[in-house]
């Protein structure tokens, strides 16, 4: 094994160890377990955005729509269909993913700024639906009146509703599944065509890759991941918020991805961690917490164009 591979493996082990023991080291440092859970969920969302932005090279500025659809899908399932946490997650993921698949067919014909604008426009459509359709979605107040359900594993029940640590590990398990699937796709021949499209669209086309179709598949997969993250987020809060579909939420996800490092697989998770922790800490000090997050974002973009993780990797090498 080469030195680079060894270093990669050690970094990977360190990341998973940190995530696995987060409830134990976060609390002494002044955090709390639910904060770690939020980092995982928003980190997964930022990684889903980055699946497109960092690895296919197209910027979606409306991905919160699929996140929010996932949240409503999970919430509505728990409230009206069946009190089952796994079913809620699957329903949320399907709702986000299928809507992404349908709209994706219209979106992937555009590039650059136009791609971003079209994604915003479609995203806002869902925001207004969630906002206006009060009888189903609860409108401006959001969807309430549901809660995540304990998971029956046969031998014992996992109480994810009241025990924050159990819930963290449940979310970590879901996170690992999704992130594993993402890594699997990126290492496949299909994943390599995504990177080819990011690197040089014209060359990709002239290698025989139907670029639009491949971007559509990447977009759809990303929306499935996004819907899954959104469904988890509804479980975190026992609540689905229409503002979770708003384009400003999409902007937050893009900010997390860029801040953490969009060319690296784990960068967006780091970006999400910085974002969530800063938000948690600063919002108890000042209502203008966003100005400080924004300031940090500007500094990172100016001085570490490859993001925080990109900077850390370079200083190590």
């Amino acid at each position: 094994m080469s030195a680079a591979q060894t270093r990669k493996l050690i970094a990977l082990a360190a990341i998973w160890a940190a995530l696995l023991f987060a409830p134990y080291w976060m609390v002494p440092l002044g955090g709390y377990t639910a904060l770690a859970t939020r980092v995982l969920v928003l980190g997964l969302a930022a990684m889903s955005v980055n699946f497109l932005l960092g690895f296919t090279g197209v910027l979606s500025f409306g991905h919160a729509a699929y996140f929010g659809l996932g949240a409503y899908g999970a919430g509505l399932t728990l409230k009206f269909l069946a009190p089952s946490t796994p079913l809620a997650l699957i329903a949320g993921m399907l709702l986000g993913g299928l809507c992404g698949a349908i709209l994706g067919t219209l979106i992937v014909r555009r590039r650059g700024v136009y791609f971003a604008m079209v994604t915003i426009a479609f995203g806002q459509v869902f925001y207004y639906i969630a906002f206006q359709w009060s009888s189903l979605t609860g409108g401006d107040d959001g969807l309430r009146g549901f809660s995540r359900q304990p998971i029956d594993l046969g031998l014992f029940k996992l109480d994810i509703l009241t025990d924050a640590t159990s819930f963290y590990y449940f979310v970590l398990f879901c996170f690992a599944l999704a992130v594993g699937a993402m890594a699997f796709v990126l290492r496949s021949p299909f994943g390599r065509t995504m990177i080819a499209i990011r690197e040089n669209e014209r060359r990709s086309r002239f290698l025989g890759i139907p670029v639009e179709r491949h971007i559509w598949i990447a977009f759809t997969l990303s929306c499935f991941f996004m819907g899954f993250a959104g469904a988890l987020y509804a479980l975190v809060n026992n609540f689905a918020d229409p503002r979770g579909l708003h384009y400003s939420q999409s902007g937050d996800f893009v900010m997390m991805a860029v801040m953490g490092g969009m060319r690296s697989f784990w960068g967006p998770l780091l970006g999400a961690a910085v974002f969530v922790v800063l938000q948690d800490y600063l919002s108890s000090v000042t209502v203008n917490w966003m100005s400080f997050v924004g300031l940090l974002f500007v500094l990172v973009v100016l001085f570490f164009p490859r993001g925080l993780l990109g900077f850390l990797q370079r200083s190590k090498a």
Partner: protein, 249 residues
């Protein structure tokens, strides 16, 4: 049977007629060079063949099949590969990774979420053989963006070759090269043509290269096919001399 049959193609951009009623047939194993002054429509003609845009009128067939309206990637799947005047590569990937993407697409694996050991072995074999052909095997792990210009051109040709094409389109393969690099690329194209029996159509400005390589030369001028023939016929053609030297001569 001809590999390529182009019948009376015309391409208009508004009022400009970039290519006017041009016909060309390329036989299997032939190396055909397209020359002409700047603005003669050579690259537009290439773009018509490779499907960058469709012709305003006329028809193109490839291996006996009408491809006039086919999309670029479909033509590539049928066995047509091209390089560009300004090198089109994946600069942040290694030479090996660049060629592997081409080999995987050519192997039909582009939509595959996984690839087994046997298939990986075949792909790697194809990539290594291709890199050897263009003499880049010792630079396989270098980032393409960091290579010298000549090596980048060779890497782009390697990507085209990894597709195992029936027809290779090379747009000014020696553009921007010094004498040494020009010589190496010319040797490479000669090997591909003579030893590996590739059918090649190329655009070239360097007349030494053209007369060294071509079986047949086509001269475009102001969008028209001015003359076609062997290098000797073209060298002796008065209309060609006039187009290149101006009518004052």
């Amino acid at each position: 049977m001809n590999v390529l049959d182009i019948n009376n193609v015309t391409k208009r951009f508004g009022n400009l007629v970039a290519v006017r009623d041009v016909s060309l047939s390329v036989a299997k194993g032939e190396l055909c060079a397209i020359i002409g002054p700047n603005g003669a429509g050579k690259t537009t003609f290439f773009n018509l063949i490779s499907g960058f845009f469709p012709p305003s009128s006329g028809a193109i067939s490839f291996d006996g099949r009408d491809i006039t309206r086919l999309a670029t990637h479909e033509r590539v799947t049928l066995g047509m590969a091209r390089t560009f005047q300004i090198t089109e590569i994946f600069p942040e990937l290694t030479v090996f990774e660049n060629v592997r993407i081409a080999a995987e697409v050519a192997g039909g694996y582009r939509l595959r979420p996984w690839i087994n050991r046997l298939e990986t072995g075949q792909i790697h074999g194809n990539v290594e053989a291709t890199l050897k052909l263009v003499a880049l095997e010792t630079k396989a792990d270098r980032l393409v963006g960091e290579l010298a210009h000549g090596d980048q051109r060779a890497a782009e040709i390697a990507m085209a070759l990894a597709l195992k094409p029936h027809l290779l389109l090379l747009d000014e393969p020696t553009a921007g090269m010094g004498d040494q690099e020009t010589f190496q690329i010319t040797q490479l194209i000669r090997r591909l043509h003579r030893d590996s029996n590739y059918t090649i159509v190329l655009i070239e400005h360097d007349m030494r290269v053209v007369f060294h390589l071509a079986d047949r030369i086509c001269v475009l001028d102001q969008g028209r096919m001015l003359a076609q023939g062997t290098p000797q016929q073209i060298a002796a053609n008065e209309a060609v001399q006039a187009a290149y030297l101006g009518n004052a001569a």
